[in-house]
Symmetry: C2
Subunit: 290 residues, 2 copies
């Protein structure tokens, strides 16, 4: 079994991006600039945004974080988004989700200029992805495809089962895997909470991509010998032995599944770091598109 | 076996739309108005546009056909589309495809205001479909879902195999069938030219939707006893016994498959008329959205 190393893969991507940024700066142009909008004081959101800032610094991007209190009104936030849309010094921006309950998340996403939507959440970017047109592909599906590409995992004609139909992972990755591209060209089955015979279906998969957020849901009997398994799940479990006080557990029963896989991407050090690198790739793309 | 009757189903839809148009007119408002852009003199395209005009007349819509010669430049066509986008008297419009080779079809589609894109081909409408947001769903997938809905065919938890991954039929219908809606909630496998074990896969389907344009491709051994089969294919075959000189043959080997099905929609009188009705539904929706 080969454990897919998203950490070193994403490090490689960052180095490639850094080289491109250096080349951009050498022409006298300004570097790519990512902005993040952070509303409220949720600890996890703060962490995510801090990581994005660090990533930007590492590759030489400019970054700006706009922090707002929990009580910002929806209209104030929408006005701020309109300003970011109009600001030529910013190539792309994200609004860290979730936003407080009094703000309509959908309105926020729809307010973002698709040309600056480096999270790839706007309908126009999702539609471009489906139609095979240039698009900002959202970070997690893009990270999964990049991991598959860099490990040269064969997907053509394979049966790929995607567990979970969310808008930000399962559905887009199912579409990407079915497209006439490399990687891609897989026969894709999208499974979800209403699917019957899940055990049998999963066990028939050459490639199994799991994104349902149910701890250790995929057991050994659900995995075919030699399958490629990509675990996107992440559930926090208290762990006093760790400095952080918790550890992340995936959707796959790692210990029992690992020996059946040809390739396995597990929650920590797998898709997570690739997701972070994808945001940088999209921001570079936004800069190139200007 | 129940043969799905798209002709009478679409007649029912037209009557429902007509009742709504009468109600609109009774308020003093103008009726919905569909425009069609037709470039060149292709016989099939002329026929399609003429049918759309007749459909509009039947339900009380206004309709306009803008005809251009084969030698219209791309820019002239794009300018015409911009005019239609800006024309408040027109709720929706379509550009009849194909356009001549010197015109970039993609540019044409991207030029259409998504709010008037009643064919549902623009990225924004495709993205809205994926995200479960209000959308103009393109005519054929919409017609298929409507047929399934009106015959109250159970789809939840069923295995649906979609043969063919085109942007205008296979891919969107696969997405719609997998959504958490009714109809929908099926476990969907999207199959295509690179799929292996096609016979076995199709024979495992509770619902089989075929849109590949290969005459009588689906044979009896590919259909499970009691399956629902939706045949979207249409290949013209010369037939001297017909007034038209041809007949349409589907992707399904009708004679040998029909007795195995619980429900069957065959090319003639199945999805075709539903597709035409879908365009009227979208135009009514565009009028309501103004």
């Amino acid at each position: 079994m080969v454990l897919l190393d998203g950490t070193s893969c994403s490090e490689q991507i960052r180095q490639e991006i850094k080289a491109q940024v250096d080349a951009i700066k050498a022409t006298g142009d300004r570097p790519p600039h990512l902005a993040a909008v952070l509303v409220g004081s949720d600890g996890a959101s703060q962490n995510y945004v801090a990581m994005k800032e660090r990533d930007c610094a590492e590759v030489g991007f400019d970054s700006t974080v706009l922090r707002f209190k929990d009580d910002i009104t929806e209209q104030e936030l929408l006005d701020k988004i309109a300003e970011l849309n109009a600001d030529d010094s910013i190539d792309g921006f994200i609004v860290q989700l979730p936003v407080p309950k009094h703000i309509d998340e959908r309105k926020v996403i729809l307010a973002i200029d698709p040309n600056k939507d480096v999270d790839g959440f706007c309908p126009e970017n999702v539609g471009n992805l489906v139609l095979g047109l240039p698009s900002f592909v959202s970070a997690t599906p893009n990270g999964i495809m990049e991991l598959i590409r860099r490990y040269d995992i064969q997907t053509e004609g394979k049966h790929c089962v995607v567990l979970g139909r969310s808008n930000i992972v399962g559905t887009p990755v199912a579409i990407l895997m079915s497209r006439n591209t490399k990687p891609g060209n897989a026969t894709v089955t999208l499974a979800h909470s209403r699917t019957k015979n899940l055990q049998e279906l999963c066990a028939s998969a050459d490639i199994l991509i799991v994104a349902i957020g149910k701890m250790e849901f995929v057991t050994a009997d659900m995995v075919k010998q030699g399958a490629v398994v990509i675990d996107v799940g992440q559930t926090r479990v208290a762990d006093a032995s760790r400095k952080s006080g918790y550890r992340n557990v995936g959707d796959v029963d790692f210990e029992n599944v690992k020996d059946k896989c040809s390739f396995l991407s597990y929650t920590n050090g797998g898709v997570g770091p690739m997701t972070r690198a994808s945001l940088l790739q999209n921001t570079l793309k936004a800069h190139q598109r200007r």
